[in-house]
Symmetry: C3
Subunit: 397 residues, 3 copies
């Protein structure tokens, strides 16, 4: 009980009214207090679950998932989040549906939402498309609710788009908050968000963009490094610059992995495709230019291969603060000698951090559940208190 009171009093000090009846598209659209409220509710839900107290706030209702790209971690995290709140998962498999040529997004969004409390979407492949699609769906169901077609307005949770991957970056962030013992401990800490070599091409930009867009808000020294030509979306870099200024932190860019790793407290080396190439690919797909896509793939792989030295090796790790920076990754990582010949990270480095990496991933179900709860419940303090008071066992034996 002592613990839960901490969460409740933490929430009492925050202003997160804007989240009720809202959606979660991009972390930088949320206020600092709203971000903290999300972490706090996530932690409170985790505490309840760890203490075998039911976290169900729904007796029935659906959580809709729509994965336009493969997913394991996020799929199971969304499924877990829905389940722990009492929602049943219903996947929209566009291949098995009638969503043919021409049916409007508005119509589909309404037709699947008569009993939906949340819609989670992954659409990360095409620049300029994924986030826009999510907003179109969210707008459609909001109108459907106002027009009286839907009994309730489902909240939209971005499960990775072309711009941001908020459920990932929030999980990463909550992990480092807990690892370093509190958000106040992060001030001045250096994090290296760096590109790393991978034998695959076209990995989404949303993870590194999400990281610099979020971690720049806590007074940290965020160093973004990548080889020339691996630029991100300029809008997101602008967000990071502004965030750093406001939070009393720094946002630095370089083309040197070593500079980034030097004295870093945290490193996040990860492959991604250049923004310009992703934009080009989006256009090629738009034109069904499959020869063009193949040529682009080949070009990108050749370009990647020039930067095999961007690997998180033991030597690189020695450059970090006391040679023991915290290593982060959204997983799965391309591990040299394990999942590929040469990759993002040396096997010995990865293995040393395996346990904290899994812990990092373990936050995602709770982050998603918190996002849903904050959109669905006006006063989460009251709701959490009620859950504690009722004390229904999650597993009653």
């Amino acid at each position: 009980m002592a613990y839960i009171k901490q969460y409740l009093s933490a929430l009492d000090k925050l202003n997160f009214n804007g989240m009720f009846s809202g959606d979660f598209f991009l972390t930088w659209e949320k206020s600092y207090d709203e971000i903290l409220a999300t972490f706090t509710v996530a932690d409170a839900l985790r505490w309840l679950r760890e203490n075998n107290v039911s976290t169900r706030i729904f007796d029935s209702g659906l959580g809709i998932s729509n994965f336009r790209d493969n997913s394991t971690r996020t799929r199971f995290s969304f499924s877990s989040a829905c389940n722990m709140l009492g929602l049943a998962l219903q996947d929209l498999d566009e291949g098995k549906s009638q969503i043919a040529h021409g049916e409007t997004v508005r119509e589909t969004a309404n037709m699947i939402s008569f009993m939906a409390d949340v819609i989670g979407i992954r659409d990360d492949m095409y620049i300029g498309k994924g986030n826009a699609y999510m907003r179109e769906v969210a707008k459609a169901v909001r109108e459907g609710f106002i027009e009286g077609n839907l009994e309730q307005c489902p909240t939209l949770v971005n499960l990775q788009c072309d711009i941001d991957h908020p459920t990932q970056s929030m999980s990463d962030m909550n992990h480092i908050i807990q690892y370093f013992g509190g958000i106040d401990k992060l001030k001045g800490k250096k994090i290296a968000m760096t590109w790393a070599y991978s034998p695959s091409y076209g990995k989404p930009l949303s993870v590194p963009q999400g990281v610099i867009g979020l971690m720049s808000r806590f007074g940290m020294d965020v160093h973004l490094a990548h080889p020339e030509g691996y630029e991100m979306m300029p809008e997101v870099e602008a967000v990071a610059t502004k965030n750093a200024a406001l939070s009393g932190g720094k946002f630095t860019k370089s083309n040197s992995m070593k500079d980034a790793f030097k004295d870093a407290d945290i490193v996040y080396p990860k492959s991604w495709a250049p923004f310009a190439a992703m934009e080009k690919r989006t256009n090629l797909y738009g034109n069904n230019d499959f020869d063009g896509i193949k040529a682009l793939e080949k070009e990108l792989l050749t370009q990647n291969a020039k930067h095999k030295d961007w690997e998180c090796t033991e030597d690189m790790m020695k450059l970090t603060k006391n040679a023991q920076a915290l290593y982060l990754h959204c997983l799965p990582a391309d591990i040299s000698g394990v999942s590929c010949k040469e990759g993002e990270v040396a096997a010995s480095v990865f293995d040393r951090y395996r346990v904290p990496l899994y812990k990092e991933a373990s936050h995602k179900p709770y982050i998603i559940a918190a996002m849903i709860m904050l959109a669905k419940v006006k006063c989460p303090q009251e709701t959490l208190s009620n859950l504690v008071a009722k004390d229904i066992k999650r597993c009653f034996s």
Copy 2:
């Protein structure tokens, strides 16, 4: 509470004993009272959900779906109906199962039903097959229950067959009942169920058949119109004729969309394939005659193209009662200039009716839930009263 009492007293006046432990194959196998009871229970369940009262009558149990054709609306409606009653959905994906050559329908039906309270099937592609398959499944599980293999007998809900689409026509009907302010207001109202042009071929007959088979029971003036050669199943037309006579309504046929629309209170313009062509296609599939199927498709598309003037345009709408008939569609519609170049309905007409169209669709989850409840619960009045008395919140915050 006032509202729920209305529903309960409405039910008290109806005789629907026949629905308990039964199935729902075709609307015309149900008595007039049974149809009304379904609407009433659907409305009561909706009222409960709108008032945040749990509608769960199951603590656990499975709802099995078996979609032998693509589906979005009905899939999500069935999923929603199961969820609101407390059942978990388990889809039978025949591709992932061992249902190979030779395993009998009886065996599969029993093997999936040990904990099933409802089986929902869509099988609408082949004339003479879909409804027959559903009856075979229903018979098998009934025998399995009697033989003691199944703890409970799942009720079968027809989610669209070759003959009828009862969850659709019942939703359409409940929509017009509420739109016009009560079932007694429908007497003498004219509804035009008409063919409309679509650039796709082979749309099932079950929607228009379901509509004339159901709407002819309420004293309405049902006008069926289609180009020559687009005949429906004669048995269903016979049902409509008989229904109209019994209910003091009319059932008229013509080959003129204009005659149908003239002074109509309600219009339902929708593409379908000729019965004879569907029968031919069924045989071609039976013989694996893929060249024959291709030739038939081409022939049907050419035939369709001769009737592009069968479009629900603004001019056509002007012919209707006060130029403001209610426009119905089961969705998705082929909207000219939106989902196709030339289609069933002009974009401006569709847009004007978009909100009522979504409302029309919103009835389906409740209609399905009512069908399940009436088959599973002996006295729905008591069950509904209990739900109100318990007053468990659907979303407790």
Copy 3:
């Protein structure tokens, strides 16, 4: 209540402490008491469900399924078992996930298990692989739990591997216990586990292996018969030999279906592929030698065809005890003249035993639920008593 007390006092006499927090890989790793406890809990859960008492011990939580081979019966049984205990099913579809080349089993196992209470796996195609994979998953999540990444340690249930099919053999066994009126009635009863002809090749060995590995523990006279060349895994035959010696039963082998059927109380005629051929196939798949696989298939079918006389005909049945042995099968059977021209069993034999066959299959959901419950609950007597005391209705009308 009288009934449930019988189950509780039966459990009081058994020592099954080893099952708590454990997994279920192979029946012969479980003590005799543990096997009996599983039957008893299964029967108690069935009694509760038959009496409309909720069997939910979870308020929320996930059951993960991973079917690496097609399944209908076991899929729905696992789904039913999860549902009756209160768990939501989440299928791991490896095709839709990111489980690409290289991601370790350990990582995937942890990533899907943050809220998993049970993982059910079918992996029966390759000799030396399936069971090993299950153990790797179970080890990974156990470590993940100890390392603090998982809130709870999911129990692993073997839904068929290369060695055993415990949920099947346990269902078969519980069926014969109830058919013959108690486990003490089985002493000295003769069961014929025999090969039978099928026009398909490569059926897993796990069913017959599971049967001889389990049924040899109850003092029965287990007769294994197959044509020369259809040998099983020698380790499993050794298990059966040892079991028979310990239980005061017999384990006999022959190459004669007639010898096996002679005076048998129970017959289980079923096709399988020779162990050596399955091993060869595993290696061919490992080498992506698809020509080799085709050649092997052809060879196996030719070899099978030499033994078409291994069919459970009426004449064969006449050899059994009073010509009325109980016929068992895991289903679906290859029924001569129904599912194939010539198969494992004559249609008239199959039809006569259809009802008991379905009953046999009906045990599986309860067996699986019992396996989960015994791994999750320290004192099932207390849990079952609580369920009876609470008396929440499964279907409350």
